[in-house]
């Protein structure tokens, strides 16, 4: 079922024409922001010279730090009188980033979320518990407006008071829930303690944090839902930018509203389908805060094949942040790639550590520590040595890089709560 069939299934030529038109409109809109006006003038970029999608490369990137430097309203392209809402993103360092919305922005943003909810089969017959922070965080009001637009019965539950949340699910017959994957795990635990199987719940929407396929299996099993991955960031409205369809195999990113590029984060060079790199987005319909080529810092890739659901091209589930990227002997390596390889090997545990050193020949050496799972220990040294070689070989095939693998005792690696710090870079500058 489609919310906006025309845009969701647009043919490539038609989509490209729409994107170019909207890109040019966006370039005109950003000229109301001093930062862009000066930058475009300095580079001598005229809107008319943007004729093909390839021309987007002529435009400058926008970084998170640029937005911070514009605190609070420096990136607004309209007068404050036209801004009907402000959200902020949590600033782990320094001031938060401020984002603003016109009435039209709120409408278009809710519409994108309505697309996503309809895509996974939710309708006005669903009862929707929105269990995320309802304040300055975009996830709360974003989903609230989108779900109302679909006509769902919305519970703005917020976070906390988990037992009350579970009572609501059971008493109100909640069919769909939106929360972070970590809160969903907590809900599952408390529901088990309370002895309820949350029988009415069928759909789980999880976002704002990365989560693995293992977590998906776990959540689907424990909550009795089908779990969908939701992606967004405040700078691009908020949630709703990309979303999984019932295939649960990659996320549909809405190309009519977001112009997508994947780049090598180290060089800025464009990467093709199937090549993992940083997602760079030029939002095409934002009014209050238009942006050019925003560096999301999130790692994904364009998927090559078409989705059976008939919607436009997907991106892969996100696999980490650019900040986590390592450059080993000139090759980009993401800890998530290592994680992916290790997860596919039944003999080793979920935890791992990566140590990077520079040897006496000034060459980078990467050593990965993994735990051997108990059932796979035969007692024979030769079997362990074979396992060690197998891991080295599998990593080399995937990373195209020779690594050293160290087998360690089960339970000996650090367990992380919250953000995992699995990489220890001990290289000194050359």
């Amino acid at each position: 079922m489609y919310w906006d069939e025309r845009h969701e299934t647009m043919r490539p030529e038609e989509l490209e024409a729409l994107q170019i038109r909207r890109l040019r409109e966006t370039i005109e809109r950003v000229r109301h922001v001093p930062f862009y006006r000066d930058l475009l003038a300095h580079k001598g970029i005229r809107t008319e010279e943007i004729r093909t999608l390839d021309d987007v490369k002529k435009l400058p990137f926008t970084k998170k730090q640029d937005l911070r430097d514009g605190y609070p309203f420096g990136f607004f392209a309209v007068p404050l009188s036209q801004v009907v809402r402000i959200h902020t993103t949590s600033g782990t360092t320094g001031k938060p980033t401020v984002v603003g919305y016109t009435r039209g922005d709120i409408d278009r943003w809710s519409d994108l979320i309505a697309r996503n909810l309809t895509m996974i089969g939710l309708t006005e017959d669903d009862i929707f518990q929105n269990a995320v922070n309802m304040g300055m965080f975009t996830g709360g009001l974003g989903f609230h407006y989108g779900a109302e637009k679909v006509g769902m019965t919305v519970l703005p539950a917020g976070t906390g008071n988990t037992r009350r949340q579970i009572e609501m699910i059971d008493d109100f017959g909640v069919t769909a829930i939106h929360c972070t994957p970590s809160y969903a795990m907590h809900l599952a635990e408390v529901a088990e303690e309370m002895g309820t199987d949350l029988s009415t719940l069928r759909t789980g929407i999880f976002g704002a944090e990365p989560w693995s396929e293992t977590t998906r299996d776990d959540l689907e099993d424990r909550l009795g839902v089908t779990a969908y991955d939701s992606y967004g960031l405040s700078e691009l409205y908020g949630p709703g930018v990309a979303f999984e369809c019932p295939e649960q195999d990659g996320l549909h990113i809405w190309h009519d509203s977001y112009l997508v590029e994947i780049i090598d984060p180290a060089t800025g060079e464009p990467l093709g389908p199937g090549e993992r790199g940083e997602l760079v987005v030029t939002p095409l319909v934002k009014e209050a805060m238009p942006l050019l080529r925003y560096r999301t810092g999130d790692i994904t890739m364009l998927l090559e094949d078409d989705c059976p659901c008939g919607r436009t091209r997907r991106i892969a589930r996100f696999s980490g942040r650019v900040d986590d990227m390592l450059i080993i002997r000139g090759i980009n390596v993401f800890p998530s790639q290592i994680e992916h390889v290790l997860m596919a090997l039944p003999e080793v545990g979920d935890q791992f550590m990566v140590y990077v050193d520079r040897n006496e020949h000034h060459l980078d050496e990467m050593t990965i520590h993994v735990e051997v799972k108990r059932p796979y220990f035969s007692g024979e040294l030769a079997d362990l040595a074979r396992l060690q070689q197998k891991i080295v070989r599998t990593l080399r095939e995937s990373l195209e890089l020779r690594t050293a693998v160290q087998l360690v005792e089960p339970g000996s690696l650090p367990r992380f709560e919250g953000k995992a710090r699995r990489v220890v870079d001990r290289r000194t500058a050359v």
Binding site: F377, G379, L381, A382, L384, Q388, G411, S412
Partner: protein, 144 residues
């Protein structure tokens, strides 16, 4: 299944190659009052396997597992050797002539004689060969 009485359960413990690991294993066995008859360490890059013949293998397995170690039982055989020059040659040649491969081995020698502990690729055949040559194999009852 007469051969089975000569198959002895060796306890094998995965250990990282770093200070204090053997002490941790030995201390756990001491606390459980488990006696070690024979033991050896095999090492590869960064890790090793501690192999031991003990008087209470189940107890040792349970305790070391509880302490978080990777522990497994491995079948070995134990042959009494003449404790004099040529004793080892006699046993090794017997197996070599029969085409039985020794994967690893360790030995102890004390007042009661010398014992060679063997991990071989075909234990039942090895047992038959050794017995028919009139050599003494230790039964598992001698250890456990």
């Amino acid at each position: 299944m007469a051969e089975n009485e000569f198959i002895i359960r060796q306890i094998s413990v995965f250990s990282e190659n770093r200070p204090g690991r053997l002490a941790a294993i030995a201390h756990a066995l001491e606390e459980e009052r488990v006696n070690i008859y024979a033991f050896s360490i095999a090492e590869a890059s960064g890790f090793g396997v501690v192999r031991a013949l003990v008087d209470q293998p189940e107890r040792a397995h349970a305790r070391l597992s509880r302490d978080g170690f990777n522990v497994a039982f491995t079948d070995v055989i134990a042959v009494r050797m003449r404790d004099e020059p040529g004793g080892l040659y006699e046993v090794a040649a017997m197996l070599g002539d029969a085409g039985i491969n020794i994967e690893y081995s360790y030995a102890y020698s004390g007042p009661a004689g010398a014992v060679l502990i063997l991990r071989v690729d075909r234990p039942e055949e090895a047992i038959n060969r050794i017995r028919s040559a009139g050599k003494e194999l230790l039964s598992s009852a001698a250890f456990h």
